[in-house]
Assembly symmetry: C2
Homo-oligomer: 298 residues x 2
């Protein structure tokens, strides 16, 4: 990658690519899916999120393979599978029994539109179909992709983090918060980087780089999310400013203060940049994405 890489145009192109891929992969399910279920899945999947996980996956596949579009359909399936899993986790997270959120990205949450039962099932279907996507080809790396995805999303990953987040006896301590987010947000972001490296044909060295970079970017991203909750406008957030803080949620600013939280995010970005240097000596997309994780305004 050339020096002076500019993130903005590249990111817009990547997001457009991911939107098209997601619409394409979902469409394949239409004929055999009950219409109401199909609609509920699409409502949350195709709502224009940041698509950070698919973009990271595709970027790693390109960086590791050294080719534009590197990893081909394997990387594209993996990218979509990651967004399916991320979307299901948001749908279930918003349920009355969980965070009980009425708005997500400025729109009513899934259960507000389709009812709780269908929201639970739409989440279940997105999670299941994610694995069909990851496994859906004859390439030998397919099973490895499934395993990475399941580890990132499962009991020792994202779901484990969600359980730590709802624990009543959680200590208001930085090390617990960090462990929680390393699982709740970090594990799937790390999986995105690792799956991209696998799809791009990487070996142990590239997986190690993806792992270290993903761990740092995942933490930085979550810290930035917590900071934005108290600093961004309601229009930027798609929900009231300080909603998480008001709900008594367990956030970095609440535990260590706003300034220290910003500092911690910057430290993680430095870790990410140093991890990815061997793979991307110039100032390329992976370095830019790491900075974007904390410099974004939404």
């Amino acid at each position: 990658m050339a020096e002076g890489f500019s993130l903005e145009g590249w990111l817009a192109a990547q997001k457009a690519r991911v939107e098209a891929l997601l619409a394409n992969r979902l469409e394949r399910l239409r004929a055999q899916t009950p219409p109401r279920l199909f609609e509920a899945m699409g409502y949350s999947l195709l709502d224009g999120g940041k698509r950070l996980r698919p973009v990271l996956c595709l970027a790693f596949a390109e960086a590791v393979s050294g080719q534009t579009g590197g990893g081909g359909a394997v990387a594209e399936d993996a990218a979509c599978a990651l967004e399916y899993v991320h979307t299901y986790s948001l749908v279930h997270d918003d349920l009355p029994a969980m965070d009980d959120d009425a708005l997500r990205r400025g729109r009513p949450t899934n259960h507000k539109v389709y009812g709780e039962a269908l929201a639970i099932l739409a989440g279940d279907a997105l999670l299941t179909e994610a694995f069909a996507l990851a496994a859906g080809g004859s390439e030998p790396v397919r099973a490895a992709l499934v395993l990475e995805l399941a580890r990132g999303a499962g009991a020792a990953g994202m779901v484990g983090g969600q359980v730590l987040d709802i624990a009543e006896d959680r200590p208001a301590a930085l090390d617990y918060l960090t462990r929680l987010h390393r699982l709740k947000t970090g594990a799937l972001i790390r999986a995105a980087c690792r799956m991209g490296a696998v799809a791009g044909g990487g070996g142990a060295r590239e997986l190690e780089i993806a792992d270290r970079y993903g761990d740092a970017v995942g933490l930085a991203f979550q810290i930035a999310d917590d900071v934005l909750d108290v600093t961004a406008t309601a229009a930027e957030l798609g929900k009231p400013t300080g909603a998480d803080a008001a709900a008594g949620r367990f956030t970095y600013p609440a535990v260590v203060g706003l300034e220290r939280a910003r500092q911690l995010a910057q430290e993680e970005i430095s870790r990410a940049l140093s991890a990815v240097k061997p793979l991307e000596p110039g100032d390329g997309p992976l370095a830019a994405l790491a900075r974007y994780a904390v410099e974004r305004t939404v």
Copy 2:
């Protein structure tokens, strides 16, 4: 298999084998799973169900491979993955927003013990870890197993059937009921047979047999379930007799009457026996399992 095969002893041995496998596979997750999540997963997974899906999977692997223990660890992982998926579906199905059941197999349902949030997450974790199990080895058939499992469990399978089951405008007609159950119960039972055939080294012919047998046994099993709801004792059911009928659920006896429902179940068993004949010329476990699907008392 020799003529005069007796199901009872064989089934008890198979169930014991499955119980040991499930405990073993779950135990591998303990070290890295938050303790409360691990406990909630085990509460529903290790509660002594019939284990029909894992038993079918292992039986097909043996029949197709022609060897006792055929399919080895691949078949065993597949068998456990199927029970993980079945268990998650029960945990989510029992939730207040779904069937709102307080009892399952004579014990309080998962959310009654652990609360709704943890029950949702325990279900999510079981579903995710099912795919980690199916994909967790270097054998080339692993991705195919994941795909079979996802198709059986997903939007065009089990979850699709659950959505048809909660539809408010469902017609009280036999063809809708059959389509519903072909998805809700049948798809995962068919997947169990197909995964066993794959694990046992089967090709297109064996998959076709597994598919036809699984479809028939799945329907028969569900019809028998609906019949038992109104004919078995509360002690046998682990919940009051007629609970489904009283809850206004959409059952075979409600739609076609008790006698016709019993007849339909027998017709499916005949289909299953004829499908499996080429694979099991004598009176072996697969034929006995097909009969057991309707002749059981619980």
